[in-house]
């Protein structure tokens, strides 16, 4: 039985009817990790012995093995941020997102590789080496939550948790042909997640199908008194609505996301997806987001400033190794952030960026007056080769050009497969929504997946 092609609810049913025990489910995924991980480098730490608590047998995730980007605190299991600073660090408490999942019966099978501290788009900045794209190991898996996307694409775990500051869930999902949701800022608690850039960081689910995204989001969303930035709105019901109809749905096509610098094959693939949705009755409207061209500059100024401040705590005194262990890209970002926050430069850089951020947010607000969602590619190019951009930071940062605006505006976006290149590498698209309107994205994404996804965009076996 190909368990990894089933949804969480289907696996849950097999456990309920005693067709499979949680131990059998766990060893299915564990064996897949044993088989492929040495080749693909998805996991930093693998958990061999699950703690199965039969008291949780009625919980929605009972017996479901999952993995997490290695930036979430897990008591007794090391949390490295994929950096040498924390390579032996064991947290003494649990991140809220992890606590919620294990309280619902889910079993942590391992923690996955990422660019150290979330600093990167390819996992090449990990202290543990790059994760490899399962569709072709010479190619990047994307980042920073790259190991997680690899684990899901190759069926080593049933679902995942990532963290998206500038595209870190969506970009690897696009590179590996999996699904990832960047949530509204504040929807999911960040407590116990290692901070990269606090005003942008979001925690979200990753999966192989849209229904699982909804299932997991339902559990992890909601206010947490331990995270003062988490929203106290009532969490809606995210389950797929049978009566949701694509007819009458209005989706905007932001022309700046399809313009210069976007690879032709990417453009054509997304346009093909748009055509298919149009045939199902979706109304498409061209919209313009002219501030898009400033997004990378705003994002990198805010992100490096905030990360230089956040990473100041790693002094090697209370925990972890000393600062000489920072990876090269992290040193670069700390130095730049120290510069942009310096007296005399703060106004020109951080403050200026924070003001342009306001304009970016307002531009999205205006666009959403006329549409329910926006559609765009996730990445301007298909996956590129490992090593290709590592020596040119500006070129590398431009990989994030289509993802960072969403973080700056605090809005949600669902990344899902659109198609593949001629050589079979995945191309992803994103549905971008209004703040706290994940439900619409999930419903459009689900319909798209059920009715429209082509055979060749299906995941690796």
């Amino acid at each position: 039985m190909e368990l990894h092609k089933k949804t969480i609810k289907e696996i849950r049913k097999l456990i309920d009817t005693k067709e499979l025990s949680p131990e059998e489910v766990y060893s299915y995924y564990f064996n897949r990790i044993k088989k492929d991980n040495s080749k693909l480098n998805a996991f930093v730490t693998v958990n061999e012995t699950p703690k199965i608590d039969t008291k949780l047998k009625n919980k929605p995730l009972y017996g479901i093995p999952f993995s997490m980007k290695d930036i979430f605190m897990t008591e007794g299991i090391r949390t490295t941020a994929s950096s040498n600073i924390l390579k032996d660090y064991k947290a003494s408490y649990n991140a809220t997102v992890y606590q919620k999942l294990i309280d619902n019966g889910a079993l942590l099978i391992g923690k996955t590789n990422n660019d150290a501290w979330g600093h990167g788009s390819t996992t090449e900045n990990s202290a543990f080496g790059p994760s490899k794209n399962p569709h072709d190991p010479e190619y990047i898996a994307g980042g920073s939550t790259g190991g997680e996307a690899v684990a899901l694409a190759s069926g080593m775990s049933a679902f995942g948790i990532g963290e998206d500051t500038g595209g870190s869930i969506r970009f690897p999902s696009s590179m590996c042909g999996t699904i990832g949701l960047k949530v509204t800022y504040g929807l999911v608690s960040r407590f116990g997640a290692i901070s990269y850039a606090s005003s942008l960081d979001t925690v979200g689910p990753m999966a192989r199908n849209v229904e699982d995204i909804a299932t997991v989001l339902q559990i992890i969303a909601g206010n947490d008194p331990l995270d003062a930035t988490s929203s106290n709105r009532v969490v809606p019901d995210y389950s797929i609505s049978d009566d949701f109809d694509l007819r009458g749905t209005r989706i905007g096509i932001p022309k700046e996301y399809f313009s210069e610098g976007i690879d032709n094959e990417v453009k054509k693939t997304i346009e093909y997806s748009i055509d298919k949705l149009r045939k199902e009755g979706v109304e498409f409207i061209e919209v313009s987001l002219p501030m898009t061209k400033y997004a990378i500059a705003v994002y990198y100024l805010i992100a490096v400033s905030e990360t230089s401040s956040n990473l100041a705590r790693y002094d090697g005194i209370r925990f972890g190794n000393d600062r000489s262990n920072f990876e090269e890209e992290s040193k670069r970002r700390i130095l730049l952030g120290t510069y942009t926050l310096s007296s005399g430069y703060y106004d020109a850089y951080y403050l200026k960026a924070a003001k342009v951020r306001t304009l970016i947010k307002e531009e999205f607000d205006t666009a959403f007056k006329n549409v329910d969602a926006l559609i765009a590619p996730v990445s301007p190019t298909p996956p590129f080769k490992i090593g290709e951009k590592i020596d040119d930071p500006v070129k590398m940062y431009l990989s994030d050009i289509l993802t960072v605006s969403v973080n700056l505006a605090g809005i949600p976006a669902l990344a899902l497969p659109s198609g593949t290149t001629k050589s079979g590498l995945p191309i992803g698209m994103q549905l971008i929504g209004k703040q706290f309107d994940e439900k619409t994205l999930i419903n459009i994404g689900y319909k798209y997946e059920q009715e429209l996804r082509t055979q060749n965009s299906d995941l690796r076996n």
Binding site: E75, S92, Y93, T184, Y185, G186, S199, P225, L226, A228, T229, S230, S231, N232, K293, Y294, I296, A297, V298, Y300, S308, A312, D315, G316, I317, R318, F319, R323, S324, F326, K331, R332, I334, L335, L336, T338, Y339, S342, G344, Y345, D347, A348, Y349, L351, K352, A353, A354, K355, V356, R357, T358, L359, K361, P393, V394, Y397, A409, G410, Q435, F436
Partner: protein, 99 residues
Amino acid sequence: MSNTSFSKITPDDVLHLAKLANLKITQSESEKYATQIASILEYVKKLEEVDTENVEPTAHISGTRNVSFKDGSIGSTPIVKSTLKTKKLNDKIYFSSSK
């Protein structure tokens, strides 16, 4: 401040920044970082084109305001207690550090 200093950053500036950030870097690293940081600063210069007069900066994006703990809601949490068990502690209160 004057914007003429944009993108002019020397290896000595980088060494100074490294000192402020408590990072040890070598002379050759400072040269590499100076070039890379200069190219990033050159790139972000485009923000000068945007008119931000009378625009408020955004720090918190999704509208949560005046968040405070309710009295007694957190207290001495298990998290505080478990954190104090960290390996590098030499007794209940103090951290030990290398000399």
